[in-house]
């Protein structure tokens, strides 16, 4: 049994009503956090961690959302540009055929086919301001706005990062596509 004093003025009634709504809405939100209804929004912090990790397998839900939801894709792009040291994603210079180098703000990528193994390509990343820490991840945004491709860049030596990629990999195809955009992070 609980004894309750009822509101005794219009002001008290309004305050009681507002408090009831507050408690009710708060409980709805609290229940929502643990129930299995609805579709959780992809929160900013989750995209932030995803962008920093550069590993699609780490959070498959985000990967799925990036492929399906344009607004998530746009927000991811904005976050990645903000947390990196090399500005916005860079488009390629106008070209009608496949390209072998990409330039951005203070950085350049060369794609050099391996002479020894024709099915492989060297990705060479160079950046001009060596005071900046080397990027860890490379994101490639395809023209179709699908899930951004990513690769870990590995260690830098004397202002260069070199990585071997399969020539027919999705990543190399995307890097050679003049319609794609590239962001080192």
């Amino acid at each position: 049994m609980t004894k309750v004093r009822l509101p005794d003025s219009p002001e008290a009634l309004a305050a009681a009503e507002a408090a009831f709504v507050q408690v009710s809405v708060a409980n709805e939100l609290i229940e929502a956090m643990t129930d299995d209804q609805g579709v959780p929004a992809i929160a900013y912090g989750r995209l932030y961690e995803y962008a920093k990790a550069g590993d699609p397998a780490r959070d498959p839900q985000v990967t799925k959302a990036l492929g399906e939801d344009r607004s998530v894709w746009e927000q991811f792009r904005a976050i990645a540009a903000r947390i990196g040291n090399f500005g916005e994603a860079a488009a390629a210079a106008a070209a009608s055929t496949q390209i072998s180098h990409r330039d951005g703000m203070g950085w350049r990528i060369h794609l050099k086919p391996s002479k020894a193994k024709p099915d492989q390509t060297y990705l060479v990343f160079e950046w001009s301001d060596l005071a900046l820490p080397p990027p860890r991840i490379l994101y490639v945004y395809g023209a179709n706005k699908s899930v951004p491709l990513s690769c870990e860049l590995g260690e830098a030596h004397e202002g260069k990062i070199q990585k071997v990629l399969e020539e027919d990999s999705e990543l190399v195809r995307a890097l050679r596509d003049p319609a794609s955009e590239v962001l080192p992070l």
Partner: protein, 502 residues
């Protein structure tokens, strides 16, 4: 309805806001950067998210917006020039007070003092010097809450939030810039909530309950007991325009009513003490609301450690969510568990014509059991708790730095018993299987400390509830009589509401 709030309570749907909360609450804890405190499964604790839900639902976020802006501006002084406050908000790993403290201490130590004239360190947090000490310290304990608020803002109004923080970072240090950004964010959030705050249906519920209680009041007061709640459901379940169809909904609405009354009374007492941007100095964010002691089970803090089975959790969940109110309305809880569950089945049956069962069959079958059976199920959970509590406490105590002599009696015998319980559980349950080497690991110790607290609270709640049920059983009508009487009432109401379905 108070002027100004009216517009905000017109929206019908909670979906977008609820999904945003789901999203923020489910951000996994980053493991890449962890500077100290034990990392659970999620970035924000259930306690942090629950309190944020109360603030947003109460449209009470003026001080949060202001403090978040202060923190953002201060972080600029000791975070990297390019990323600023994001280094702080996301550089701490799990959003825990100790992690914010660790991050800020090490960041301030790296930056020469002359470069940070805007930030003043305090044992409990940081303060913005440029405001002349007018504004209180932002405590480390408040920072996880502000970080979660930032995530929510960036999720529901990303463009407005980003613009406000970009402007703030470029502005000269001072209260004017902070207030301007606060106002910008406050307006943005207000606009969002005007479209997404699901108040309208709750307003109708409030007035229906108020009207019913007024009719029962003597000298402006009313005793709300099990009978009042049942009678209210019987007379309002069939109404259109307000959703009181489910018994469980009515019980929750009465809980919200009494909690709202307490909230409103306390708010009235505080009236006059608030200023526009009142801030909290304590490590605890605001006045504690009742939060289910089971909340840590949703944080991921326990990792793989299972302290309750899924069935046990489901069984005690409502009891724990109702907390102190469960013992005031013991029969209502039993009705919700037994007949509320039957009502759910009737509702499911309506949706699946091929599996449709007549209401009398659902009422009569023994699937949910009687009130006595419910009590027995609670007792079964209760009986399994002491050994788990001892085992969890053993790990928590043995690995803690407390100055406690476990070799002296009576602690020695107790510790031995507890160790034996732990070894038994370790042998029988996969999730309790932990190597001796891991027992002194701080994360493991913390995990078991939380587990012991959850189990202890569950035991206490079950104890008082079962005592109340026993009291009823010894009364004019025993529990079986209550169950049969209620069965007739619910059968009649379900038939009225749903037809026979046969």
């Amino acid at each position: 309805m108070a002027e100004g709030l009216e517009l905000l309570f017109q929206a019908e749907a909670v979906e977008d806001l609820a999904n945003a909360f789901r999203g923020v609450a489910s951000i996994p804890s980053p493991t890449m950067v962890d500077v100290g405190e034990s990392s659970g499964g999620l970035r924000y604790s259930a306690m942090t998210m629950n309190k944020l839900a109360f603030r947003i639902a109460g449209l009470n976020y003026g001080d949060l917006v202001y403090d978040l802006c202060r923190l953002v501006k201060m972080a600029d002084a000791f975070c990297s020039a390019r990323h600023g406050y994001l280094d702080l908000l996301y550089g701490v790993g799990v959003a825990a007070p100790g992690n914010f403290k660790g991050f800020i201490d090490s960041a301030l130590a790296r930056v020469p003092e002359v470069a940070i004239p805007t930030v003043e360190r305090d044992p409990n947090g940081i303060r913005m010097d440029a405001l002349g000490g007018k504004r209180p310290v932002i405590a480390f304990g408040r920072m996880p809450f502000l970080a979660a608020f930032h995530d929510l803002l960036m999720t529901v109004i990303p463009a407005e939030t980003q613009a406000a923080f970009d402007d703030l970072r470029q502005a000269k240090v001072g209260d004017e810039a902070i207030k301007s950004a606060s106002n910008q964010l406050g307006r943005g959030l207000h606009g969002y909530l005007a479209k997404n705050m699901p108040g309208k249906s709750h307003v109708k519920k409030f007035h229906a309950i108020s009207k019913a209680l007024k009719a029962l009041a003597v000298d402006g007061e009313v005793d709300i007991g099990d009978a009042v709640i049942l009678d209210f459901w019987r007379s309002h379940a069939g109404e259109t325009g307000v959703d009181f169809l489910r018994y469980r909904t009515v019980l929750s609405a009465f809980l919200n009513y009494v909690r709202g009354r307490t909230e409103a009374d306390e708010r009235a007492e505080q009236d006059g003490s608030d200023d526009e941007f009142q801030t909290q100095e304590s490590d605890v964010e605001g006045r504690p609301e009742w939060v289910s002691p089971l909340a840590p089970l949703d944080d991921g803090v326990l990792g793989d450690l299972k302290v309750l089975t899924a069935n046990e959790r489901k069984l005690v969940d409502r009891l724990m969510t109702f907390g102190p109110w469960a013992v005031r309305w013991p029969l209502s809880i039993a009705r919700a568990e037994v007949f509320g569950q039957k009502q759910e089945r009737i509702s499911q049956s309506r949706k699946q014509p091929d599996k449709r069962q007549p209401v009398p069959t659902i009422i009569a079958d023994g699937e949910e059991g009687t009130y006595h059976d419910l009590g027995s199920r609670f007792v079964q959970v209760l009986e399994g708790l002491p050994s788990k509590i001892k085992a969890a406490a053993y790990v928590a105590l043995a690995g803690s730095n407390l100055d406690m002599n476990l070799d002296a009696e009576p602690m020695r015998t107790m510790a031995e018993e507890a160790r034996a319980e732990f070894n038994k559980l370790r042998g029988n349950r996969a999730s309790w299987r932990i190597d001796d080497d891991a027992l002194s690991d701080p994360d493991t110790v913390e995990k078991f400390r939380v587990a012991a607290a959850v189990l202890q609270s569950t035991q206490e709640q079950l104890d008082v509830y079962l005592a109340e049920m026993e009291r009823i059983d010894r009364g004019d009508q025993n529990l079986d009589q209550w169950y049969h009487r209620d069965g007739l009432i619910f059968r009649e109401e379900f038939l009225n509401l749903d037809g026979d379905l046969g």
